[in-house]
């Protein structure tokens, strides 16, 4: 157990990030369990604690008598400096035990820009960075989360990566590790890695070799041992009503990013936006039953004392039983002062009715995501929203008393012209005009947030080159010049961060050395603008003689072998290509759960059905 020096905690900001003891945290005696797991998200406490996947795994693993699951997040830079100065290794919040003493360390990889924090945390823990350098006394380093669908840039640092939903696969992993330990760690590290590789959804990168063509493209990725599959396919839970949920989440002392109950209505999204990676990775749609959700919500209020429930899903307004669910939640929980919030709204008047219902007390701003400014562009991305939908929704919101509207967009989408970019400004002005028409006076506040589009693996846009950083900057200036109204606030993303994200999103294994170099030269917390060191990254690319443009901005041909072709989301490459071609010709693809199947291949391939309770009623 680590002793935490008061002098250290007195000096750092928010010391409660590092001291644990939160309500619902679980402390087990390590001598009474057979497997210990340190669950981690490689970012600061407030971000890590807000991740729903880790909350679920924490409960599932701790429900097992043979397992102790604890938490560890990235110490903020001030704490890291204190820890390094005092030789305090990275430790978990429950037992204050060094992370390197655990059997398994699981990292949730949500975002490419957190990779440098993974290396930093391994180093702080005293764990060798490369899988090849670890012996059987070191923890097994596992990655999970969306990035694992192309974690090739971090493949050398992970012992295994889990594709898809963790509820069931983690149980399989624990069972395998437990029996390996009980049998005296037969065949050492390679013994356990080989047996893990035989669990569905588990990818052990060291058991695959990558070869390259002379032009730098991937030639093939092949197993180097007979026991492992050619293609690793993601895990999905067939029926979400039958798996454990995080009904007793830890209640932090600090104000975290999502400091409320998260009620996950369903997984998946069938809207089919062509830029969206989550829409592909989390397919198919599987809804929870409304009566189960109500029961879960009540349990969570009782177990946490939170007074706010957020209905979290990729597109909560698409939940087939939403109006009834909201009514019953509010009816049953209003007495206890619990409010319900809908984080994402669909752009139609139905959503406004709902928003009005849940926000009876306080009218905060409304957020919509048209994603693109022109109709042409919205058709390219298959957003399935018209100018009229948007105008109707905003009008309804203004009539209902709202006056603050936030609009989310992307720039740099495939086939984008300056006209499409300027469409964003037109839309913002249209919203201001609508307010004036309805209210007879000015007074609306519009926030326009524009991020830089990053093409992601496993999406129809995976073949497109990303815009160059200076092209993003030119478009940002173009828009900025047009948005000169005091009622409009314009926020945009840093183009250079998005460029790096783009390089790593579609990177291959060779980027591991760039990551190592950049981390050695001080890169960490790259997702935090105040710590992002662009020059350090560019120097690392140069030193390693690797070209970031090759990964970020290059257009790919359909026959190119992608670095992630051996990792499957269930959606076929033919489907993605078809969607790409429809994008270019501005053709729409319908929502497969409301109309007809668009043959992505997920349901038959994974043997899982769409579960939509509304359609069965």
């Amino acid at each position: 157990m680590i002793t935490l020096d008061p002098a250290m905690l007195n000096r750092v900001i928010k010391p409660a990030r590092y001291t644990g003891n939160e309500w619902n945290s679980i402390k087990k005696d390590h001598d009474t369990v057979s497997v210990t797991v340190a669950l981690s998200l490689p970012d600061v406490y407030e971000v890590g604690m807000s991740n729903l996947g880790l909350k679920i795994l924490y409960q599932i693993l701790n429900n097992r008598e043979d397992t102790a699951a604890e938490r560890v997040y990235a110490p903020w830079v001030d704490m890291e400096a204190e820890m390094r100065e005092r030789n305090i290794p990275l430790y978990t919040l429950e037992s204050l035990k060094p992370v390197r003493e655990f059997d398994i360390v699981g990292f949730s990889l949500q975002y490419e820009m957190s990779y440098s924090n993974v290396l930093n945390m391994l180093d702080l823990a005293g764990i060798p960075l490369f899988t090849a350098e670890r012996d059987e006394h070191m923890p097994i380093i596992i990655g999970g989360g969306p990035c694992t669908f192309n974690a090739e840039p971090v493949a050398d640092f992970f012992d295994c990566l889990v594709l898809g939903e963790g509820e069931e696969v983690m149980e399989d992993i624990i069972a395998a590790v437990s029996s390996w330990k009980k049998a005296g760690k037969i065949n050492g590290r390679s013994g356990i890695l080989k047996s893990l590789a035989q669990i569905g959804g588990v990818y052990v990168p060291s058991l695959y070799d990558v070869t390259y063509h002379e032009n730098g493209m991937v030639a093939e990725v092949l197993p180097n041992c007979p026991e492992v599959p050619l293609v690793v396919t993601k895990r999905v839970v067939k029926d979400l009503n039958k798996v454990e949920y995080a009904t007793r989440p830890i209640v932090p002392f600090l104000d975290i990013v999502h400091d409320r109950i998260m009620l996950e209505l369903f997984r998946g999204c069938t809207r089919g936006c062509r830029f969206c990676q989550a829409g592909v990775l989390y397919r198919p749609v599987r809804e929870r039953r409304p009566e189960l959700l109500l029961k879960m919500a009540k349990e969570m209020v009782d177990s946490t004392g939170y007074n706010e429930i957020s209905l979290t899903s990729l597109s909560s307004a698409d939940y087939s039983c939403l109006p009834d669910l909201v009514d019953s939640l509010m009816g049953e929980l209003k007495e206890q002062g619990v409010s319900v919030s809908l984080p994402s709204l669909r752009i139609d008047s139905f959503s406004i009715d709902l928003a009005q219902k849940v926000q009876q007390v306080r009218k905060s701003g409304l957020t919509f995501a048209p994603e693109a400014g022109s109709q042409r562009m919205r058709d390219v991305i298959n957003k399935g929203v018209t100018q009229k939908n948007l105008e109707d929704a905003v009008s309804a919101a203004f009539q209902a008393g709202w006056s603050t509207v936030k609009l989310y967009f992307m720039m740099g989408l495939p086939t984008e012209t300056d006209e499409d970019v300027l469409g964003i400004a037109d839309l913002a002005y249209k919203v201001l005009d609508l307010y004036k028409e309805i209210k007879g006076r000015r007074g609306a506040k519009v926030t326009v947030s524009v991020s830089c589009f990053v093409p992601k693996p496993h999406t129809p846009f995976q073949w497109f080159g990303q815009d160059l950083a200076n092209e993003f900057e030119r478009k940002q200036q173009l828009l900025k010049a047009r948005l000169r109204d005091r009622s409009i606030t314009f926020n945009w993303h840093d183009a250079r961060t998005s460029f790096l994200e783009g390089a790593f999103a579609r990177g291959d294994r060779r980027l591991g050395q760039v990551l190592l170099k950049a981390w050695q030269n001080g890169a960490r917390f790259d997702g935090w603008s105040e710590y992002f060191k662009y020059d350090v990254w560019m120097d690392a690319f140069k030193t390693c003689e690797i070209d970031p443009y090759f990964y970020a901005t290059r257009h790919r041909d359909f026959d190119e072998v992608m670095p992630w072709d051996h990792l499957s989301s269930g959606a076929s490459k033919q489907f993605l290509q078809r969607e790409y071609e429809q994008a270019v010709t501005e053709e729409l693809t319908c929502d497969c759960r409301r109309e007809h199947c668009s043959a992505c291949g997920v349901c038959p391939g994974l043997g899982v059905e769409v579960l939509d309770w509304g359609s069965r009623a």
Binding site: D5, P6, A7, L9, N10, R11, P15, A16, Y18, T19, N21, E22, W23, V251, F253, L254, D255, V301, D302, S303, T304, G305, Y306, N307, Q336, G337, V361, R362
Partner: protein, 231 residues
């Protein structure tokens, strides 16, 4: 309406949480315990609870007080039992009583706080320590510059010292006992008193490693000194 007053602790386990976070930890415990707490009216209803005096990050206490306004009066022992089961580590209940009639707010009546500061010694000779404490106690006035995000402010410390500081020698550390007045126009933090002792009276201690513990909060006048639950 019934006002339930509790005497609670802020223990070692939650030493480093802020006063605001301590307050919301209590709020959530009250919800979990399903106490019939009252809420304010209006657009953004909040729980009707109030505390006596804020405690800084890093400070523990054996004497915190909270008033909880309840919609109905339930049995005290039952309320305490329910709450005990809902409190995070580090918060214990030491006393509880309903306040009768229209009692003034805790914040308005508490006017004295007592503290223990434990801090490692940087000198072998206890005599040096005794000297600087004596000089401080004998000083007419001690001006201390408080630095906050709002700027610098000069404060005279001695006006808030209810009694001379007393001293106990521990193994390689020293324990100081402070009695500090809380007045309508302000007060001084125990850490600031120690800061002044180190900066102006050459107290040879490792101030980075100080540990502060609040031992009492009182309503004090010439005749008597009582804790808020003894009213």
């Amino acid at each position: 309406m019934a006002k339930l007053r509790l005497e609670i602790t802020k223990g070692e386990e939650i030493r480093y949480i802020s006063h605001l976070d301590y307050a919301s930890a209590m709020e959530r415990a009250i919800i979990r315990a399903k106490l019939p707490v009252a809420y304010s009216e209006g657009f953004n209803p909040h729980m009707k609870i109030s505390f006596a005096s804020a405690l800084a990050v890093g400070v523990t206490s054996q004497a915190e007080y909270i008033d909880i306004e309840c919609k109905e009066e339930i049995d005290v022992n039952q309320a305490v039992e329910h709450l005990k089961a809902s409190l995070p580590m580090g918060i214990r209940i030491k006393g509880a009583a309903y306040m009768q009639g229209n009692v003034p707010a805790l914040m308005a009546i508490v006017n004295l706080a007592t503290y223990e500061i434990t801090v490692p010694l940087l000198a072998e000779d206890i005599g040096i320590i005794e000297d600087s404490i004596r000089w401080f106690n004998e000083a007419e006035a001690v001006l201390y510059t408080r630095e906050s995000p709002k700027g610098k402010k000069e404060i005279e410390i001695k006006q808030y010292m209810a009694k001379p500081i007393t001293l106990t020698a521990l193994d390689k550390a020293v324990r100081l006992i402070l009695e500090i007045q809380i007045t309508p126009t302000g007060s001084i933090k125990p850490g600031e008193v120690l800061g002044a002792l180190v900066a102006m009276f050459d107290l040879p201690v490792d101030i980075d490693n100080l540990l502060i513990h609040r031992t009492g909060l009182y309503i004090s006048n010439a005749n008597r000194q009582v804790s808020p639950v003894e009213l």
